[in-house]
Symmetry: C2
Subunit: 394 residues, 2 copies
Amino acid sequence: MTIETASAASHAAPDLVERQTVTLFDESQPLTLASGRTIGPITVAYQTYGELSPQRDNAIFVCHALTGDAHVAGRHHPDDRKYGWWDGFVGPGKPLDTNRYFVICANVLGGCQGTTGPMSINPETGTPWGPDFPFITVSDIVKVHQALVDHLGIERLLAVIGGSLGGMQVLEWAARYPDNLASAIVLAAGAKLNAQGIAFNAVGRRAIYADPAFKSGRYYGDEHLPRFGLALARMIAHITYLSEQSIEMKFGRKLQHSDELTYDLLKETEFQIESYLHYQGKQFVERFDANSYLLVTRAMDYFDLVESYGPLANSLGKTDARFLVVAYTTDWLFPTPQSREIVRALMEARKHVSFAELDSPYGHDAFLIDSELPMLARLVTPFLETTYRSIGDR
Amino acid sequence: MTIETASAASHAAPDLVERQTVTLFDESQPLTLASGRTIGPITVAYQTYGELSPQRDNAIFVCHALTGDAHVAGRHHPDDRKYGWWDGFVGPGKPLDTNRYFVICANVLGGCQGTTGPMSINPETGTPWGPDFPFITVSDIVKVHQALVDHLGIERLLAVIGGSLGGMQVLEWAARYPDNLASAIVLAAGAKLNAQGIAFNAVGRRAIYADPAFKSGRYYGDEHLPRFGLALARMIAHITYLSEQSIEMKFGRKLQHSDELTYDLLKETEFQIESYLHYQGKQFVERFDANSYLLVTRAMDYFDLVESYGPLANSLGKTDARFLVVAYTTDWLFPTPQSREIVRALMEARKHVSFAELDSPYGHDAFLIDSELPMLARLVTPFLETTYRSIGDR
């Protein structure tokens, strides 16, 4: 209830935010990627909310999921009808309370919403990178985020938080920069993507590769973009973000246009669930780039903390960050055992870790769904307060 | 153990079987489909095993799943390396014991393995039906199967058995022809397809529609068939036939060609699971037709026993058939609650029903997997024996 009121209040208040950019890793000091290739300069698109404290100890970095962006909360223009993707969670009086904390969110490397990615100009050719953009990993993404945090003059983050691919970034951050964060909040994620997750990403990518308009990734400027393939990839993935329960509750076998079955094989959106998936696909291609989609899904496939750093208890044992790990009962993309594996390793390493499996019908996407945020807030709000207090004591 | 021995023995013994065909529903008496359209004549491809008893009371009809065919067991030629799709379950000394029972299996209407379907010649045009083939439902499929049973001179089947779409056919049979079966064995199925199942079928079909070689279904005789779209549809579906556990056990994150990650976005089969799915897709397009795939998946989407016949306790309450309903713990396409719903309705209707949830890591496909058959046999063998004995008493 508190949260809903706060949310309503903040929408009435000025909530405008600007997307900022900064150029990091200039040509003389390019970023060396996990693949061995280098890239630089890198433009990073990011947004900040609230004020950095004089002690620079109240900064929270939000890592977005697969197809998110820096626009985590608020609006860019007063006419915008849509708020940022986590507006219910980030803002004045909200769990990531911008009256207290300085919140940062940046678009990932390889993305398509402002940070250098396949749509950016390749300085060597003067044309967009397209499929020549280097392969990126979660570790590359986090290196760029850390460089942004350095640029902002923040030595140690109060928290790094993220769900799904965002949660993978949080884990990577804790392993790679153990001294740079006071807490880590991992939502609906795991220390690696399992085979089923790789399988779904693979069929989605295959839909893109198969689209004649994809043309091996060299489609920028074309009249026809690989929208069909990208939409299909999104439709497949979207099924995995929902739970059987939620999809059944919301759609079941309801028909879209009529009370009667049509017995028409060409009718692709006869059931509501079909129409909903088509809509999701259509919306997605308006805001996302196929080359970026290939890159970020592959980064997710490649993520494996044990493969990169050895046993979890070792890699996560290097940080003194306090951990909060959250799983959702109906999340089948990152089922609860994946969270438990992280929790066990942290306990084995004698680290502070809180764990909750939240009961939600909404599957993997639960951490993004407004109705489910109060439940998450009841964990995150006190966790952040305690972390903030513990820093003050130090 | 018994089963394995029996199986080995039968492979040594003559196990050759011939595909037979019969033409039913001639032009003067065509089949009226659920859609209202009519079709006739209909050729049905079927195979039989064992001998029909003089009392004609030992016939078991096997309903195949989505992409199965009449070739349920044995071989067509001594040189065949592959046996029928349920060879571990059907044969002398096996659970569907062809020394005792007369087993029938027929390719479904709309299929592509001998029974009239989109690849057959449309008598009105003299060319293949293709996309003009009428829309079919599970009820249409069962009407044709029943006509075949009539043709074989069998008044009452000892059992109808099937898994997945085959299980839907069993339920339809019991509701539509309550007096024509003494028992019904429903494996890994439900009284309807849930929204998640419809969703997966929908994205699979969309992959086919999107293949430029599909050409609205008019591709017969073309150099390029819509293999890419059909393979992708199969790959998507195949993920749903496995469980997270089995896929993780078998493949996990193992690489296909090397011990080293390649950091190459064009490498589509870097992980073993990717390579496995590609193989599944490739194998499938060798044996299946895209137009048929569209038809049978839509038939599955449309299946809803309650929608067709009213409350389950009423529709299933009309038969005196003994029921055996089997679910698998890791089947997420037809999760156990779907089986329980059938069992509850049968109990409410005071019918004989046995129910088991079998513990298997193999997901939806468990009923087809050799290692899981002995577990199923321990239910089916005595169930059939008791049913057969109860008929004798009558």
